[in-house]
């Protein structure tokens, strides 16, 4: 008693505020419930609602004066049983999804307090629907009924509430406003965490403007088309069934039917035969003006029977008339029949063509119910027409050969459309959702994402032949195992003139393989050169391509291979930079359908025989296209030192130090892995141990040559998979701007970059999940120790490695600075900023352990230009 007295002294707003507090407390408690507890409550509540379906239906009709008791029974039944069935096994509490491999976990949390606005047309069923989905999702729900339907709405909510509490739900988990007023409704919407607003556009707009997230829905004006191919009996009776359901109050109910001219009479006859009344002459206007007032529907006719509406309009029709049909022509809003009528009143149009029917339907939809529902009756074999209809209608539900009232709410005449009494109309209808609203709209889903490392792979040519004298053995396989018929050799003029091709040709001849040769590849191969070669290739039609040479012929041959297999390939697309080669936007064309690719290196440097890279220059524009994709990986590499014995000294030095750079960068790369580490380490040792002899003695040191050949290929395998770093980025640009051989350019900056990378406090570290913390210094020290260099600590060990590299550089005649190499100071400074930006943007930068700032690259260039002590790079 005392409590009641207190209540009476509070204003309605104060009472509501008190209610918020208790409901929020109840919800916090409910939020701790397990899925099992929730499912028990959900079931008990659904059972109770279902049991009360008849009294609730009677109450609704009695209170609102609208609709049909028997149909409202179905709606209540549907709201209880179908909603329960749809979510009975759904996981809505706690962890609802888990993928251990990807480290992803999804956790469902309730939203909190749901404000529910309930319409007069479907008061009890909507209340059942909304309370049930809130219970299933551990939300509290506060219902704001319409004053015209408050008793039955509250009764439906009370039945669900009491059953829920009996099954263990917290007290006050469902609440309602006893005396609805707009002030209270607005207050509820402002206070709630989310609004489930089913109602008129005014209500929905108010919900959206409350500042809280709203699931609002909109008006419908469902146009049905009956195509010439349709089953007319099914079509007409479906429409009658749907349109008379609860006296036409479902928003997904048909408002117009457009029949194709050739079936119009048959459609009309079927409507008449089944008890529908076609309005004649003045009757159309009379009914139209009774049903629609200023573009709105007359409140007095909503949910009334056809007979009563006719009577109100002063038109006499048989008492059992099912639907009043007005045959009209205009789809403009000035035509009352073109509107949503919320009653068994239907417009009927004639269309000469299917196209015209689509135009009419689209106009009706957009003017009266954008985004809601559209209906089509058609022979299901008419796929094209159905697709065109679906394409044209701005409707979030398109139902085919279905009573649209039943079809739109889902699960009755179709079985994958979510059952719901709140139908989203998308942005066309001013809504945030375009689907049938359900329990999952009332959850906050937390995604727990654990750190995972990138998938990595090791990509190598199908076969790598090595050891001195392996070439004839490998070539033998082309004829005697693979049965190739035509070989196309790509090489440069020097090699061709000096007889390097001859052993290959002899071997091919012995196996009866026809061959042709393109020997015009110049250093820094051009697109024009590749096009020339591919012309010859196309007329020859080889089934195997043999690239013989240093990096240039191998790169040129790879490009010719692409153009030969895919004449339309676009280099601009292929050269597009990527962050992750497996996520790149451009998909490379598949290679190898026409020809098998064999690479035979003649220098120990680029490693191109085992890498998926090629660089080509467009001589006309000067653009360099760096191409990288595993499709460019040679199928076979033949590393035979016999082809490399007589490399000139300069080439030996430049390509030899290039190998060292490849190995070092691959080893400290953010993508370095156990698969590549061993290969890279071995390559560094082979270079340290053999490059001086290979350089000084050349062919007189065949073992050193052989080890260098091995080192080159190993380093290629490492960086083909672990990639390179900013040393290469900078060397690419330095080489291009100042015509410095690639290997020398690498060497000129190598020790500066190493000191820069070795910082324990880099400005920024590289982004890759495997790269856990800045550890380039440790990695360089691994290299040092592998090569027998051990200082008292990492710093000293690292210094020893730097010294050893400096010594090696000196031994093989690398100048001490870029300046000493012969680049003029003014030329260097003039290009510095451009080189810096381009180096930063180079594809190699991304794998560097330290993510460089452009200003840092610039400083490195300057240090290397003037030959400053490398220690200064540690200060960057």
């Amino acid at each position: 008693m005392a409590e009641k007295k207190t209540d009476k002294t509070l204003t309605p707003v104060e009472q509501l505020e008190a209610k918020f507090a208790v409901m929020r407390a109840a919800q916090r408690e409910f939020g701790k419930y397990s899925q099992e507890q929730v499912d028990q409550i959900f079931q008990a509540a659904a059972m109770a609602a279902n049991k009360a379906r008849i009294p609730l239906a009677k109450m609704a009709v009695e209170e609102t004066g609208m609709g049909v008791v028997e149909d409202k029974v179905i709606k209540n039944h549907y709201a209880a049983e179908y909603i329960y069935n749809a979510y009975r096994n759904a996981r809505t509490c706690g962890v609802i999804e888990e993928d251990a491999a990807y480290g992803i976990k999804k956790i469902a949390e309730p939203i909190g307090l749901v404000a529910a606005v309930i319409p007069t047309t479907n008061p009890t069923s909507t209340a059942i629907f909304k309370t049930l989905i809130c219970l299933k999702t551990r939300n509290a729900i506060l219902i704001s009924p319409h004053p015209r339907a408050k008793k039955c709405t509250i009764e439906a909510a009370r039945i669900v509430y009491e059953a829920a509490v009996k099954a263990g739900a917290p007290k006050d988990i469902i609440g309602w406003i006893d005396e609805p007023s707009l002030e209270l409704t607005n207050k509820v919407m402002k206070e709630a965490d989310i609004i489930l607003a089913t109602g008129g556009p005014g209500m929905v707009r108010a919900a959206y403007s409350s500042g809280k997230p709203a699931l609002g829905v909109g008006a419908g004006n469902v146009p049905a088309i009956i195509d010439s191919s349709a089953d007319i009996r099914l079509a007409v009776n479906s429409i009658i069934h749907s349109k008379t359901f609860d006296n036409g109050m479902i928003c997904a109910s048909e408002q117009s039917v457009t029949a194709l001219a050739d079936v119009y009479d048959a459609v009309k006859a079927e409507f008449e035969r089944r008890g529908c009344y076609f309005l004649k002459g003045k009757e159309i206007e009379k009914v139209g003006n009774t049903v629609i007032i200023n573009g709105g529907v007359n409140a007095k006719i909503v949910g009334q029977s056809a007979y009563n509406i006719a009577k109100l309009a002063g038109v006499k029709v048989p008492e059992k008339t099912k639907i009043l049909i007005g045959e009209v022509t205009s789809t403009d809003i000035s035509e009352p029949f073109a509107h949503e009528k919320l009653s068994p009143v239907l417009a009927m149009y004639r269309a000469e063509t299917f196209e015209q029917a689509l135009d009419m339907s689209e106009q009706l939809l957009m003017d009266g119910g954008p985004g809601h529902t559209a209906s089509l009756f058609i022979d299901p074999a008419e796929k094209e027409k159905m697709a065109e209809h679906a394409r044209r209608m701005h409707a979030c539900r398109i139902v085919v050969n279905t009573p649209s009232s039943h079809g739109g709410i889902g699960d009755l005449y179709n079985f994958r459309l979510t059952p719901s009494l709140t139908l989203g109309c998308g942005s066309w209808g001013g809504n945030s959702v375009s689907h049938n609203v359900g329990a999952f709209d009332l959850l906050n889903i937390k995604t727990v994402a654990e750190r995972r490392e990138n998938m990595l792979w090791l990509r190598l040519p199908e076969k790598v032949y090595f050891k001195r004298g392996c070439m004839p053995v490998a070539l033998d396989e082309l004829g005697n195992v693979m049965h190739k018929k035509k070989a196309f050799i790509v090489t440069d003029t020097f090699l061709y003139k000096n007889g390097y091709v001859k052993p290959i040709e002899d071997k091919l001849n012995s196996m009866g393989i026809q061959h042709s040769c393109f020997w015009d590849v110049a250093p820094d191969p051009t697109l024009q050169c590749a096009l020339e070669g591919v012309k010859q290739m196309r007329s020859f039609e080889p089934d195997v391509i043999i690239a013989l040479g240093g990096g240039s012929p191998m790169d040129a041959a790879k490009i010719m291979w692409v153009l030969y297999e895919h004449p339309d390939a676009n280099f601009e697309d292929m050269a597009m930079d990527f962050m992750d080669i497996r996520k790149r936007i451009y998909t490379y064309p598949e290679m190898g359908k026409k020809a098998y690719f064999v690479a035979i290196p003649t220098s120990s440097g680029t490693g191109s025989e085992v890498t998926p890279f090629a660089i080509i220059t467009d001589a006309e524009t000067g653009t360099k296209w760096p191409l990288a994709d595993y499709e460019l990986m040679p199928n076979m590499a033949i590393v035979d030192v016999d082809n490399m014995m007589n490399q000139p000294k300069g080439l030996t030095a430049a390509s030899g130090i290039d190998v060292m750079t490849h190995a070092l960068e691959a080893y400290v790369s953010v993508m370095a892995s156990d698969m590549t580490d061993g290969i890279a380490l071995k390559a560094t040792k082979l270079v340290f141990d053999n490059l001086p002899d290979a350089y000084n003695l050349g062919a007189k040191a065949p073992k050193a040559r052989e080890h260098m050949a091995m080192a080159s290929t190993l380093a290629g395998e490492a960086f083909a998979n672990a990639f390179l770093g900013v040393n290469h980025s900078m060397a690419h640009k330095l080489g291009a701007y100042h015509h410095i051989p690639h290997g020398v350019a690498n060497a000129l900056i190598l020790t500066y970059v190493m000191r820069y990378n070795a910082s324990e406090v880099p400005t920024k570290m590289g982004t890759f999940p495997q790269y856990e913390y800045p550890h380039a210094l440790e990695r360089y020290c691994d290299v040092a120790r592998y090569n027998g260099l051990v200082g008292k600590d990492d710093r000293e060990t690292f210094d020893m490695l730097i010294d050893k590299i400096e010594e090696l550089k000196k031994t093989i005649g690398i100048p001490a600075s870029i300046q000493e190499y012969g680049v003029k100071e003014e030329d260097f400074l003039a290009t510095l900023d451009e080189m810096t930006e381009n180096a930063f943007n180079d594809q190699c930068t991304g794998a560097n352990p330290r993510y460089p700032l452009m200003s840092e690259i610039r400083q490195l260039y300057l240090l290397a230009y003037y030959g400053k002590p490398t220690k200064e790079a540690e200060k960057i």
Partner: protein, 250 residues
């Protein structure tokens, strides 16, 4: 002293011309605040630069009430012109719409908001049941908050066209800041009551020139009908009640 020419005699006021002045003399029973408020709105609108008769004074009158004096504007009202030249009706309707759209471009921040005015009117209506009021209020709440100058009774008789083609708008008692759609709905309602044959034509013309959906103006119609119902005019009751009885789609 010039002769007084009575122009309009209503229950609560007498309007007369006295030389170059027009005087609106309210009866003693008319609340002082109402008179001062009307003069205040007029002053706000005049200050904003809207073409209106110049306000000359607000004074207590001999009858114990208050009077508003303003400048007399020579010319004919659009209403007079429509009656005199029925063949030119289309031209005059277009003029009306143009003036209405021009008025809407003014911003007069001191005026009351149209939505709030409508809400107050609906809440004061005892003739309609609470549920209908709830629906009407919901409808108004759903409307966007605009700030265009709305005359509130822009009918042809409130517009004077001068010989030189310029115009002047009279009677600002109902002005507010708000939605042009609501203002058009009021004009449409007034036409529907007085000249129903012009109503539809006006509406289409307004919506075309304002680039506004007819549905938007129509949304306001039950609301402006409710507001008009507060004037308790028996002859209007049937039409207004019909207009009000529109269900929200749901």
């Amino acid at each position: 002293m010039s002769e007084r020419i009575i122009l309009e005699q209503a229950a609560n006021k007498t309007v007369y011309r006295e030389g170059s002045r027009i005087v609106k003399e309210f009866t003693a029973s008319h609340p002082m605040s109402g008179v001062l408020n009307e003069a205040y709105i007029h002053a706000c609108v005049e200050d904003a630069g809207v073409p209106v008769p110049r306000l000359l004074g607000v004074t207590p009158s001999e009858n114990g009430g208050w009077s508003i004096a303003m400048e007399y504007v020579s010319g004919k009202t659009l209403q007079e012109l429509m009656d005199e030249n029925p063949e030119k009706i289309d031209e005059y309707l277009e003029k009306l719409v143009d003036i209405q759209l021009e008025t809407g471009r003014y911003r007069v921040p001191n005026l009351r908001n149209t939505r709030q005015k409508m809400i107050d009117a609906i809440q004061s209506l005892a003739e309609i049941d609470a549920s209908t009021r709830y629906e009407l209020l919901q409808r108004v709440h759903g409307m966007a908050q605009h700030t265009k100058l709305c005359h509130g009774d822009l009918v042809p008789s409130n517009i004077v066209l001068r010989e030189d083609g310029s115009y002047c708008i009279l009677d600002w008692a109902h002005a507010s800041a708000g939605n042009a759609g609501a203002d058009a709905a009021i004009t449409y309602l007034k036409f529907s009551l007085d000249r129903p044959e012009l109503a539809e034509k006006y509406l289409r013309l307004f919506c075309r020139k304002a680039d506004m959906a007819i549905q938007y103006v129509q949304t306001w119609m039950p609301v402006v009908a409710a507001q008009q119902l507060t004037k308790h005019r028996e002859a209007e009751k049937e039409l207004l009640e019909k207009w009000i009885s529109v269900a929200e789609y749901q």
